[in-house]
Symmetry: C2
Subunit: 583 residues, 2 copies
């Protein structure tokens, strides 16, 4: 279990601070993560990677010459926010565009995608690439649904080495795709990890058993078997990967492969070596030549006990990129000849802090009516934060039944940050639209994860509907809530019946719109919509989550409501109280 | 716990094999361990390190340019044998002598010391150096009694970097002493590790508690406290080390130190970074400048949960050596300019297997009488191996009460190897002396650990007393057993009453000598001596082990006999059976 921490909610930030202090030769801190200490060489495509904390050396440990130019570090097991990613990418930008790379998880796809859009707004050409190496997470027919695990390293490295050699953004993206198409991983696990401050492990595997294909956050695997010997484990891993040799790879015989035997945290080095001994023999028997193997901890999950095997099937191009030198805190290889080219004096270089939207000290002009409405919005956001505070443990408990138990903490981080940002905006004289938009960015930025992004979308949709000029009306509020509902469905990819907040948001928005359209006053309409939300939230207890979502114990959740649905219902009720006060 | 293994008794060998397969760029295998793939540059002092397996990257992971020239790998948590160390040292020898370096543990001191003597016999100038950085293992007044932990790295590196710069053996030894005198470590632990194949952890720490100063094999610490926060842990470690700044270090203020924050296995990277954040701040507050810090896993104990902090107080000489480049599987730093100098074509280079004594295919001439006695010795060693086999689990169980529970396995490995070597020698026509000497080397070599070395001493003493020419007599046997008793006391450093095999060996040898001197026939004398041994073994249940020995649960052992004493009594009885048969 994780034992050494201070305030659990500060864990990821403090770990990043300590990491940066220990590795000043390679990295320097920027808002949201780290970039290379020497900066990105002028005219070089920047490869910016990232993901949740708790997977070291993924992701910050892979920043340095020959590998990533920057890494965004999210909260524990939660995607970095779009703001964090944008900040790191701006600091890493060397004038030739940015490739954002990450493992294929819903939250990361969401946030890196939003970051790319915002970077475009900053005038930076940014593309995204999700690594999908875990063959146990979806069938060969649906490779795009596969998760990214230890295959991150060879795919990141291929793209970054191409950038190092001067490839342009299109070419770096092509190389990433090519490396990913030839990279396959398969993993097994024996025990779960306990997150900082949690009382219970995120999930458990019965003593003496092995979970096959389990994800690095405890996502469901494809089966459970008796604990194998080291040789049997090697045979399972190698056999599974040899069953799915990618198209275009020669063979049988004569193939070359980069091989990574990765430990997740508490399967230790000697055990990995005992397993590797058999892996090497089996690959040799199959006629596969091993190139520059890596045996160690490259993508971890705290002290989770498990291992994975990754093969990148090499052609001449990929072999050259895999063999290329690299010098990062956690992955060093070969030696560079000559000094690094001069760095682009990029945004945020030389210690400059990048100014993010919610740090702005000015707000757009707003009408008197909108500023008055902003006061009510501030009161509503304050009530939201107080409600979340009151229920934080209950939300965590409910979420732990099926998920990773961090819903309460995430909502608390988000709502607290939103309240703070709203207060700052209010004191600067912001209108309702700006206040809600700033609160939206702060929520998404500080909460991270999928729920952070979705709550950012909700507040932003309502803020956009209200604007800074017009006096908010029942119509404009209902319109904003409907836009929020549509936005959440689109971004989150969930539908009614999937046991998510969508099960509550849709009936809430629909009821509100219907009553307001019928001329019912806002406060009454909201009250009845909140009642519909409460009923819908309770009804999620009868649902099973849609398959494929990151719910380690999906089947156990029958009888328990969805945590995101429940918190949304609580919040609609809290906001009703504020509306009553300002009636 | 350790889950991935095949045959537990083959674990260390298989791990070494896998390690070597994965790291061919840096190392190549030799009998007993590994040496640099490129060999030792001609005329360079070779630094040969080593210790038990289970501590990776200590020790094999630290072999490569700028660091060790070779590493001897013992069994799990057991010293390599003198033969293994000798073999690695011969392969690593570059013509300018060898410095043998290891942590200060009884078994390692014994085996590395014996290896140095044998290397002298091979015409190789070999010195020994034990690292003693763990300040919680003995008082500042007795620094030579301190254990070696993560301070191994900076001390090994200083010596090796000096060798790399052309220092001669005296100078390399001086540098080792200087670095060791300025290196201090302090550790805390939260849980024990489970060795391959064991059902129970080696030791436990109560949930929510911290053992202060616990050794990496579970050796007793100096106290137990409540689980700290990360900041409190950092404060404890830094404060403890700042209390004992070595003589000759300037200050306060203006000092420089190499800093290592080491994780023992399942305290993971992000936790280490959170702790390091505070360590760095506290050292800065104290005016200590941190030079090239290392935060990671450098000396582990499987999945034991614990951390240690090491400071090497630098002067200009040590700073230069600490900053010097290194390129090993687990520790890489900077870059070398120019190719490595040409290697000495040392013994064992280019894949040649070093011929150890027990591989010899010839034996010295022996008399007919001595060859007949050798048959009885073979029968005795066969009975010993069978007896140990029968009692292996009982011995493990007894040893687990106070120690690490490996006594049964170690005795089994040793006695089985001794039987095999005796049979080979017998079939080659060996006399009793050569047969017992070969069996002695095989036992020490394969069993490793302290008991392996002591049993090697016993058989060698008896073999030397019998020789290959004279017909063995009751006198010469009793003389050999007395020599064995004296040798074990000298080597092991234990006295009667310390709850070790000495409590049995001394009365056994004394009774045998007394009766034989009085004219009692050998078989009868042996019978009565064996009875005395059995009584003495049972009486060890009433004793407490001497303080400072590596017995994690010393206090619990009251009421249980000592495992080494018990196995010796069993063996004296088994040998009596053989004597009866050949009466």
């Amino acid at each position: 279990m994780t034992r050494l921490f201070n305030d659990p909610s500060a864990f990821a930030d403090e770990a990043l601070e300590g990491f940066t202090a220990a590795h000043q030769r390679w990295v320097r801190p920027v808002t949201g993560g780290v970039v290379r200490a020497a900066g990105t060489p002028a005219g070089q495509v920047a490869v910016v990677i990232g993901g949740g904390s708790g997977h070291y050396p993924a992701f910050t440990g892979l920043v340095g010459r020959g590998l990533a130019h920057g890494a965004a570090a999210g909260n524990v097991f939660a995607s970095p926010s779009a703001q964090q990613i944008r900040s790191v990418a701006r600091a890493a930008h060397g004038g030739a565009g940015v490739l954002l790379m990450y493992g294929n998880y819903a939250g990361d796809v969401l946030h890196f995608g939003q970051a790319a859009e915002r970077l475009a707004g900053d005038g930076i050409d940014a593309r995204t690439f999700a690594v999908t190496d875990d063959i146990s997470s979806a069938s060969p027919e649906e490779p795009a649904k596969r998760r990214g695990i230890a295959g991150d390293l060879p795919v990141f490295k291929a793209a970054a080495a191409a950038a190092e050699r001067g490839a342009d953004l299109d070419e770096v993206l092509r190389v990433a795709g090519h490396a990913n198409a030839r990279t396959r991983s398969f993993g097994i696990a024996f025990s779960g990890c306990t997150l900082p401050g949690a009382d219970e492990p995120l999930f458990t595997v019965p003593e003496g058993r092995m979970a096959v294909g389990l994800g690095i956050h405890g996502e469901p695997g494809i089966g459970e078997e008796a604990l194998p010997t080291a040789d049997e484990a090697a045979e399972l891993l190698v056999t599974s990967l040899l069953k799915e040799i990618p198209e275009g790879v020669d063979g049988p015989g004569g193939q070359r492969a980069a091989v990574i035997l990765n430990g997740l945290g508490s399967v230790k080095y000697e055990e990995l070596f005992v397993v590797y001994r058999r892996v090497a023999a089996l690959l040799a028997d199959a006629g596969v030549e091993i190139v520059d193997p890596e045996v160690g901890e490259l993508v971890t999950s705290f002290d989770m006990a498990g291992i994975s095997l990754t093969l990148t099937w090499l052609d001449d191009e990929l072999e050259e990129l895999w063999r290329a030198p690299a010098d990062t805190p956690a992955h060093r290889k070969g030696a560079f000849t000559g000094p690094e080219p001069e760095a682009e004096p990029a945004a945020g270089a030389a210690g400059e802090t990048i100014l993010l939207a919610d740090d702005d000290e000015t707000v757009p002009e707003a009408s008197e009516e909108s500023r008055r409405a902003a006061g009510i919005a501030l009161a509503a956001l304050t009530a939201v934060a107080t409600t979340v505070d009151t229920h934080v443990e209950e939300l965590g408990r409910i979420d732990a039944v099926a998920g990773d138990g961090d819903h309460g903490i995430g909502m608390q981080r988000g709502s607290t940050a939103a309240r703070r940002a709203a207060l700052t905006a209010h004191d600067l004289g912001a209108g309702a639209g700006t206040l809600l938009t700033r609160a939206a960015d702060a929520w998404a930025d500080k909460a991270g994860g999928t729920s952070g992004a979705l709550w950012g979308t909700i507040l932003r949709a309502v803020g956009t509907a209200l604007g800074d000029q017009d006096k908010p009306t029942a119509d404009s509020v209902a319109h904003g809530v409907s836009a929020a509902s549509a936005g959440v469905q689109r971004l989150g990819g969930a539908e009614v019946g999937d046991k998510t907040m969508v099960d509550v948001l849709v009936p809430f928005a629909d009821t509100l719109a219907e009553l307001v359209a019928a001329g019912t006053p806002l406060t009454d309409s909201w009250d009845r919509a909140a009642r519909a939300a409460e009923a819908a939230a309770a009804a999620t207890a009868d649902l099973l989550p849609r398959k494929g979502r990151a719910r380690p114990h999906a089947e156990k959740s029958l009888g328990t409501p969805d945590a995101g649905a429940h918190s949304l219902a609580l919040i609609t009720r809290a906001v009703h109280g504020v509306l009553l006060n300002h009636h």
